[in-house]
Symmetry: D2
């Protein structure tokens, strides 16, 4: 039997404990909703971690045992310790996959990996979003049709300040008149990164089957295939070198 | 008359004050050798800055007045303050160009902008390097032939841990048997970044006319065209939105 | 004085002679409307060529003297001779710029340069289009704000079957619910290619100032910088080779 | 049991029947050497096809049943019919993988898919080649170390006139002083394309275990995942459109 993909779903887990309306949608937290969806896949073994656990639930041992990490954060990016943000970044560079969700565009690990401001335009009025599949042969779009409709969403609009993605898998249309590169892939070091915009805490977006399918696909696509820490090394010449004059 | 390009050449300026053999090649520092070469271009106005000046010579005012910054550092990357590294990164994101030279691959500003380990293989035996032009129509390769020969160089070999560059302008061949993506372009925010590998302190590489031509081209290519700080902003809908049910 | 950019605007020029409503918008043809707009730039020298001229107006001599070619075609792609399509392609590979307009996505030169089907979704009901600037620091976006509104347009929707562009400069939002990568850059050989979607013959889109500004910027960006025909060549070794055993 | 990958190895099959020295290395043709190597993989079902078969062995039925096609041609590119070259191109655009080997850089299918001249420098003196792994986490590099040594090779040198690849997986170093992007990936339509330079007919390169491993990896990576023919289609609006004034 093939080795299972070890998934860790990380959540800041604040909104759900603070705001009743949000707790109604995600009673045990966004991380649990996503974890449940991923656990439906027999090839995955899914754990969770949250901000207020020791080391934010992301000890080196946990990360070492993680093939792909999903990251949801919003109101408490600043409370993530720099040390643990660097730990996540380094683990990605060694080969771990990272799926950054919605407001995670402004999280420390994502900003460190992108090197850019990761800013965007936004509006929260519950408008309609249509997520268009730009790259239908991409593994992340497997089983997804020409588009996914999301009835009520937070708008994220361009200019999204990221490096040019390797692949733009999805672009979103919004009722209010904006567009957004809402599904983007990047490679950093040995690791794969997928940013996926849909998923505001006040809407049941992670309960939507197509969104769960995208996350499933993304977890498979991003899961670590190798672990290759990179280091500077002095190396001897392979060929004979004519001595300097 | 067209506005001049404001260039600042930054140098750690330690090797040249420490090691006689290096001082012989660059008596007033690598930054002065490069600045002199760039000053031969009537469209450029060239200043310099070094590590041991206050704020490393890179006050906000200096960066504000800089269209393109060249960066040479090697033995003292750790002495560059995090604050000033972040200031350089932010200025690039707003539109300033950055040309990172040789051992600057491991500098704080470059690593922050790339988000990767920026590691590589190396060897310092004074072997021959041949810098091949991969993208002859790129503005940085203007006036450069199929290749540049460097008689004695420090070898920088792959795997170079960087994100996939926008363009690989040069790839180097080394006598000892390695290859290296030695001229790479990136865009980060509104700014352009060029990494150029040739230029070890113990060799007179920056005195070589073709290398000076590459730096001239790169300064013109990377020079800030806009200044557009990016920020997250809440924006009203442009189109009428049907109220949520 | 700097050398002027030699622009040739090519138009199929059929719609305007066939349909009165179109002739009203572009009385002397789309090519003349675009040429007039570009001639307002003192750094450009602008000629035109049309399908029904001998060699479609694109003799080798004309192409040799062209730095950047704009291409508008729609109903008569099949009447463009394969020989001349290949001639345009080859001239791009040698360094000429090519700006492909609207329905030119299905023209022979564009399809030859892309290697893909270049298919898309479409609808012609005169809906609203909003062209978002994704890459505000790109020279083609110079002077363009966050977006351009086009009151009435033909919708072009994804999936647009092109290779991943080097840069996506613009993405369009449509009233009817679609998105489109409406401004894309590519490099092919020594030449630069820009595809720009807005511009249906039944709407006065090329009379819009912002659209003319984009075409002006694009002509400057794409204008040939070099002329370097590429050929396979047998080359002697530069380094001494140890004889085969 | 998972569905097997259907591989077709295509060979011009002329050199081996014409030149005794080549026949000694590949007695039943390069295609049979490669097919044997790939058949060692239990997840692959491998057929072959050659130029002199009817329809070059590439009927629509054969292509329909092929997940990934390998292409070796050299002296008879011009004898491949345009119709069948277009058929291969179209099948790639629909989702079939294509692995183009060595002198296949100048084959009709590859040139049609790239849109460029696909020219390069070359020299055939049996010098040493070292194929460096640039992207060690790429599935095509699985199980390959930092480099592969090829004792005797035909040199292929830059400038290689191709569009910027999605990923440069390998770069070659040559004893005579050149470099080459020898392993490049591209996506065209729904299909994946891998160009791999090593493999001249006068050298036993395809008998080398590491080269066979690269081809195995590439066949798995490029194998069709979807079959999605693309077509232009008129589509109704999804959203209500305000009637034109």
């Amino acid at each position: 039997m093939a080795k299972k993909i070890k998934v860790t779903v990380w959540n800041e887990f604040r909104h759900e404990r603070k705001t009743e309306a949000i707790a109604k949608i995600y009673p045990d937290g966004i991380h649990m909703a996503i974890a449940r969806a991923l656990r439906a896949n027999p090839d995955m073994e899914v754990g969770t971690a949250t901000l207020d656990e020791p080391e934010h639930g992301l000890s080196q041992a946990v990360l070492d045992a993680t093939d792909v990490l999903l990251w949801w954060g919003h109101m408490a990016h600043g409370e993530v310790s720099d040390e643990i943000a660097a730990r996540v970044q380094n683990r990605v560079l060694e080969g771990m996959g990272l799926i950054v969700l919605h407001s995670g565009h402004f999280s420390k690990p994502f900003k460190r990996l992108m090197g850019t401001a990761c800013t965007l335009m936004w509006r929260e009025v519950g408008e309609k979003e249509r997520v268009w599949t730009i790259d239908p042969s991409h593994p992340i779009a497997e089983g997804i049709g020409p588009y996914i409709d999301i009835p009520h969403t937070e708008m994220y609009g361009e200019r999204f300040d990221i490096p040019t993605p390797d692949q733009v898998v999805f672009i979103s249309w919004y009722e209010g008149g904006e567009v957004f590169r809402s599904g983007c892939t990047f490679e950093r070091g040995m690791g794969r990164v997928f940013y996926f915009a849909p998923g505001h805490e006040t809407f049941p977006i992670y309960h939507q089957a197509e969104i769960q399918k995208v996350l499933t696909n993304a977890a498979r696509w991003a899961a670590a295939r190798v672990r290759l820490p990179q280091a500077c090394r002095m190396v001897p010449a392979i060929e004979k070198i004519t001595p300097r004059d």
